[in-house]
C-alpha cells in the first residue's frame, strides 16, 4: 500500500523524451516487481493482523450474542477514540526512530486546562483553541530538547510525561470540573441521529485519511521514512531533519490535546487523571500495526487495523467482565508479543537461510587456490 501501483506514467517534462522511451521498458518491469514485493511484505503483516482481528471478534461473539451488533460496534470505537487518533500521530514519530511517551500526560493537561478555563467563565469556543495551542507548545517543548540539544526522545518525553501530568494537577488542583454544557458532551458520546455511528468516528476517519495521504503519498512522508532508515544520509541529502522532527512532535502534542478535549467531552469530566495509561495502549497499537520500534518501517493501514484489534479486544474483555486493570495486563502482553513476533520471524528466516547456504556452498565454489580468470 505504500507504492503507487501505476506502472507507467505520461510524458515527463524533466527528461528528454528519448531517455524516457528507453527507460520505459525497464521500469515497467521494475514497477511490477516493486509493487509485488511491497504487497507481499504488507500482505504478510496485514494478513496476520486480519487473522488476529477475526479471532478477537470470534471470541467476542462467543462471549455475547450482542457482540457483533451495530450498537456495540459504535460503542467499541468510541471507547478507544482517543488512543486511536493518538496512534495516528505517533506512527510517523516512531518511523523516524523517535518516540513520544508524554502524550497521555498531555491528554491530562489539556483536560485540566479546558476545565479550568471553563470554570473561570471562558466560553468554550475560546477554550478549545487555547487547549489545542497548549498541545502544540508542549510538543514543541519536546521537540526543542530532542532537536536542538540532541537528547534521546525516550528520556525527554519521559520527563515531560511527569511534567505535563504535574502541571495538570497544578492548574486544576484536586477538583473535578463536570458542569460542561450538553452541546459539548453530546459530541463525545452522541451518535448521528437515527444511526449507531458515533460522531467521534468521523474525527478518526478524517485523521486516518489525512495520515495515510501524508505518510504514504507526499514527499514529507518519504522524508520521514528516509530519516528513519538512515538519518545521516537524509541530512546529507538536504532533508531538514530537525524541522521535520519538530513538526512531528508539535502534531503529536496537538492531537493529544484534541484527544484530551474528546475525552473530557465523552466523560463530561475534566480531571488531572484523564488519559492515564494511554501511552502504553498507543505504543502497543503502533507496534502491533507493524511499525518497527527502531524506525524506518511501517504502514498507516497496518496501524488502523491494530486500532480495530485493540478496540474489539477491549470490548470483548469488558464483555467478559474483566476489569480495566486486568485489561492493561492483556495490552502489555500484546505489546510484548507484537515486538517479539517480527524478531522471532527474522531469527527463523536467518536460521533457514544459513542452513540452506551451508548446503549450497560446496557445489558453487572452485577449489582452493584456483586462479580466477
Amino acid at each position: 500500500m505504500t507504492e503507487d501501483p501505476r506502472p507507467t506514467g505520461g510524458p515527463d517534462a524533466l527528461q528528454p523524451s528519448a531517455e524516457v522511451s528507453i527507460a520505459a521498458g525497464g521500469h515497467s518491469v521494475s514497477a511490477m516487481s516493486r509493487v509485488g514485493r511491497s504487497l507481499l511484505a504488507a500482505a504478510r503483516m496485514e494478513t496476520f493482523l486480519i487473522v488476529l482481528l477475526a479471532f478477537v471478534v470470534w471470541w467476542g461473539v462467543k462471549l455475547s450474542p450482542y457482540f457483533l451488533t451495530w450498537s456495540n460496534f459504535g460503542f467499541s470505537i468510541q471507547a478507544v477514540i482517543e488512543i486511536s487518533i493518538m496512534s495516528l500521530a505517533m506512527t510517523p514519530i516512531i518511523i523516524t526512530g523517535e518516540i513520544d511517551l508524554s502524550v497521555e500526560s498531555m491528554v491530562g493537561l489539556s483536560s485540566c486546562v479546558l476545565g479550568w478555563l471553563w470554570a473561570s467563565g471562558v466560553p468554550l469556543e475560546v477554550c478549545i483553541p487555547i487547549v489545542l495551542a497548549v498541545g502544540v507548545l508542549g510538543g514543541l517543548f519536546n521537540g526543542f530538547f530532542v532537536v536542538r540539544w540532541g537528547l534521546p526522545s525516550l528520556v525527554v518525553t519521559l520527563a515531560t510525561y511527569a511534567l505535563f501530568r504535574g502541571l495538570g494537577h497544578v492548574v486544576l488542583g484536586s477538583t473535578v470540573v463536570t458542569d460542561f454544557p450538553a452541546s459539548f458532551t453530546n459530541f463525545g458520546f452522541g451518535y448521528v441521529p437515527g444511526t449507531n455511528v458515533p460522531w467521534t468516528l468521523f474525527v478518526f476517519l478524517f485523521l486516518a485519511v489525512v495520515t495515510v495521504a501524508i505518510v504514504h503519498g507526499t514527499w514529507i512522508g518519504r522524508q520521514v521514512f528516509a530519516v528513519g532508515k538512515n538519518k545521516e544520509a537524509a541530512r546529507y541529502s538536504g532533508v531538514r531533519v530537525g524541522a521535520l522532527k519538530m513538526a512531528l512532535f508539535a502534531v503529536s502534542g496537538l492531537v493529544a490535546a484534541l484527544a484530551g478535549i474528546l475525552l473530557t467531552s465523552r466523560t463530561s469530566a475534566a480531571t488531572p487523571d484523564a488519559g492515564l495509561n494511554f501511552t502504553l495502549a498507543v505504543v502497543t497499537i503502533v507496534v502491533l500495526g507493524g511499525v518497527d520500534i527502531n524506525g524506518g518501517k511501517g504502514t498507516v493501514p497496518g496501524v488502523i487495523l491494530a486500532v480495530l484489534i485493540l478496540g474489539t479486544l477491549k470490548s470483548a474483555l469488558t464483555e467478559a467482565g474483566i476489569s480495566t486493570d486486568y485489561q492493561n495486563v492483556a495490552i502489555g502482553l500484546l505489546l510484548i508479543i507484537s515486538v517479539v513476533t517480527p524478531q522471532l520471524a527474522r531469527l527463523v528466516r536467518e536460521l533457514v537461510d544459513r542452513t540452506r547456504l551451508g548446503r549450497r556452498r560446496p557445489a558453487h565454489d572452485p577449489a582452493p587456490g584456483e586462479v580466477v580468470r
Binding site: 507504492e3 503507487d4 501505476r6 507507467t8 506514467g9 505520461g10 515527463d12 524533466l14 527528461q15 528528454p16 531517455e19 524516457v20 528507453i22 527507460a23 520505459a24 525497464g26 521500469h27 518491469v29 521494475s30 514497477a31 516487481s33 516493486r34 495521504a213 501524508i214 503519498g217 507526499t218 514527499w219 514529507i220 518519504r222 522524508q223 521514512f225 528516509a226 532508515k229 538512515n230 545521516e232 544520509a233 537524509a234 541530512r235 546529507y236 541529502s237 538536504g238 532533508v239 531538514r240 524506518g296 518501517k297 544459513r354 547456504l357 551451508g358 556452498r361 560446496p362 565454489d365 572452485p366 577449489a367 582452493p368 587456490g369 584456483e370 586462479v371 580466477v372 580468470r373
Partner: protein
Amino acid sequence: MSEGKPMTAIEGATVKLAPPPVALVGVSKRFGATQALADVSLDLLPGEIHGLVGENGAGKSTVVKVLAGIHQPDAGTIVLDGKPVLIHGPAHARSLGIATVHQEPRLFPDLTVAENVFMGHAPTGRFGSVNWREMRRSAHVFFDSLSVSLDPTAVVRGLSMADQQLIEIAKALSIDARVLILDEPTASLSAHEVDRLFAIVRQTRDRGVAVLFVSHRLEEVFQLCGRATVLRDGRHVVTAPTSELTAADLVRYMVGRSVSLFPRSASKIGDVLLDVKGLTRVGAFRDITFSVRAGEIVGLAGLVGAGRTEVARVLFGIDRADAGEVLLEGKRVRFKTPSEALRAGVAYVPEDRHLDGLVAGFSIAENVSLPIIPRLFPHLFIRGSRERNLAAGYTERLRIRSTGVGELIEALSGGNQQKVVIAKWLATEPRVLILDEPTRGVDIGAKVEVHRIISDLAASGLGIVLISSELPEVLAMSDRIMVLHEGRITAEIPRAEASEERVMFAATGQNAEETHSGA
C-alpha cells in the same frame, strides 16, 4: 568443506617441515549481498612475513577480522597447529596466540604506555594487586629489545600515530604471540617511521613469529615479505614467493587484467566558480586557499587524516568554519545546513556511501530523488511515474546496471551503488561537485566508468573537487592537485608537473619549502 589440502603452494615452492601455525582453508564470508570472501585458503609459516595484497574491497580486511576472531567464517575452517579451531572472539584469538594490530591503533588514550602494553595481563604482586614497578621494568626491557626509545610511564594521548602503532605491536608481542597480523600499518606513517617499523617487524620475524602483512603498497611487500598472496573480489588469486614476482605481476593479479588508464578528455576551463580563502576550522585544518573554475577538476590529495574530508564538510554546510570565506560564483556564502548548500548549487558525494550516501531499504528511484523531492513535487503529492522517469534518465546516462529503478539499492554491486550516489547529486543540478573517494570499494571496471563520468561532467562545465587517497587516480584526473598535510596545503601542483613522488613528498610534509603559490 574438508578438501584435505591444508594450503596452496604455487608450483610446489614450499617444503613442508612443520604444520603452519595458522592457516585458512576454504574460508567464505558473506555480508548481506556482498560475498566478502569466497573459498580463500592461506597459510602463515613461522619466521616468515607473508604479504597480503589486493584492491580496496578485495577481502583483505575480512581475512584479518576472521583471524582476529571479529568475524566467524560462514564456511571453511581455521587450522591452528594442524587442528581446526573455532575462534569465538578477539579475546579468544589472543589467547590462541594470534595478535592483531589494526589500521587505527585502539589504545586507551588516558592510560600510560606500560598499562596499555600489559592491558589484561599485568604482572601481579601478592593478593593479586598490580605490580607497577615490575610492569614498568618489563616494558622497558621490551622496548630496549626492539631498540625503541619510548617512556613506559608516558600517557598515550599525544603520542604520534607511529608510536601508538609500536605500542600495539609491543602489546601483541607481550602475550607471546606466535602469529602477528599487521593491517595496513604504514597507511599514515612517514618514510622514516616506516623504516623503523620494518626493522621491528623483521626482528619479530627472526624470533620465529609468523607475520601477516596487509598492505596496498606493493614496494613495501617486496621489501619485507617472503611470500605474497593476492586477493581479488574476495577470492584467492595467487600465492607465490616475492622473488618470483614482479610489481607488474602483482598489479595484473590484483586487477585481473592490464590496467587501462582513466579516460580524461580535455575540457574548456571557464570562470572561477568556487573560491576558498583562508578557510580554517580549529583542530581540523588551517588557512586553506584554493579555487575551482568551471570545467576544472581540482584534486585534493593527502594522507588519511590530513583534513581533506573536513574541508569538504565545511564547504557543504555540515560543519562550520572558524575563519576564512567561501565565494560561490563571486557571492559570499556561509552554509548552515546541507540543504542550503544544495539549493546554492554545491553537491557533495560523501566518503562513506553506506553511512552518508544512500538510504538502504529505498529503491534506486527513491534514493535518486531524495535531495530534490520537495522541488520535484511542489504540491506535496509524489507522482511515481515522474520520479521513476527522472531516475531512469540517470541510470541510462551513468549506465547503472539493475533490473530497473524500482530495485532496492542494497541489491546492487558496490560500483553501481556508487553511481547511484553520483546520480543522486547530479539530479540536484549542481554547479560545484565535491567527490570524496568516489571509487573506494568499487571494482576496476566500475572505477573506469566513474572516471569517465567525472570527466564528462567537467567537460559539461561543472567545477569538480576530487578527494582521493589513490594517487594514480588523482594524477590522472586532476587539472591541478592541492596536497594537504596535517590540515595545511603543502603544495599546489599543476597537471603537467605532477608525479607520484612529488605528491607523496608533500603529503608526508617532507618539503615544506615548496609552498603553494595562490591560484
